[in-house]
Symmetry: C2
Subunit: 160 residues, 2 copies
DNA sequence: TTAGATGCAAACGATTTGCGCGGAA
DNA sequence: TTCCGCGCAAATCGTTTGCATCTAA
């Protein structure tokens, strides 16, 4: 089961690409310092619609040179704590991160190659959060929904 | 963020507890051998409604003695490949497993202590699988839906 | 008898942590 | 000048793998 990570994710028609300035403003407001690494990471996350792993970040050209893994982990933890990125589990070994964009997104993940595509549809779970909270007593409920399947590319390979 | 794993999961009113015999029959049909470890693992999974991690399995009284972690991992991989258990990511470091019961289940996970509760409600994502397949070209689509929140116990602690 | 399971030990990959230094505010 | 963030190195944890041995079928 090789994981290629083409990231064919189509972009969302609703979420406009947030300018870097605004992201930085949000970071400052959250008490983060305007670091070289922060800048680079935001740039990458901004142009990526699919969730990105730390390994992928750390091998990105612009980041590769000046990047210690530990620092990267710490930065993304900070960003997540401040609510600026969302951490997502995709059944890969490694966690993945996305910017928190205008509205909630769900994903389809290929079981064969790990490719992730963004879903551009009304999320059916969001309206249930309240119901879940009511029925279980859990507070502050949000959710994570992923679909898993075999992407067209891998489907084709299998048929040969 | 300590993870306690009380597993307060309430049981599902619909899924009857499957007799061990039937489980074993299914395993045999899948080509698995009736091993000591297999028996023990099935027993534990059967009485647990919440997903269980391999660590939890390996520290269960009945399993602890005769259990090498590598063997346990391999067994659960086999069981998953054969479609007998479901592997679930819960934002914990470790994967969790449940028996594939009568019908699909979703879960609420406590962000503080990691406690997992079973949700006994109609799953809103199941009917979307076809739609996702159609709109993305992914085949053989299923899904995983988890809600995250703060469980009553942890909510109380925070208020003190 | 034989393919499938196991135990042990070692490798691996993702993530975390401690500590002393450097840079943004 | 003061913390926050950084780099480096080592530790930890979950998981995988190779290999010789064992055992259910």
């Amino acid at each position: 089961m090789a994981r290629n990570h083409h990231h064919s994710a189509n972009s969302c028609k609703i979420c406009a690409e947030e300018p870097l300035d605004e992201l930085l403003a949000a970071c400052r407001a959250a008490g983060l310092r305007r670091t070289h690494l922060l800048l680079r990471v935001l740039e990458v996350l901004q142009r990526q619609t699919a969730p990105v792993s730390i390994r992928e970040l750390s091998t990105t050209r612009s980041i590769r040179d000046d990047c210690d893994p530990a620092t990267l982990y710490r930065l993304l933890q900070r960003l997540e704590t401040k609510g600026l990125v969302r951490r997502i589990g995709l059944h890969e070994r490694a966690a993945h991160y996305t910017l928190r964009r205008g509205h909630h997104h769900d994903y389809v993940v290929c079981r064969e190659c790990g490719d992730v595509a963004l879903l551009d549809m009304a999320c059916p779970a969001q309206k249930l959060e309240r119901e879940v909270s009511r029925s279980t007593g859990f507070k502050n409920v949000d959710h994570e929904l992923q679909f898993y399947g075999v992407c067209p590319k891998c489907g084709k390979k299998a048929r040969n």
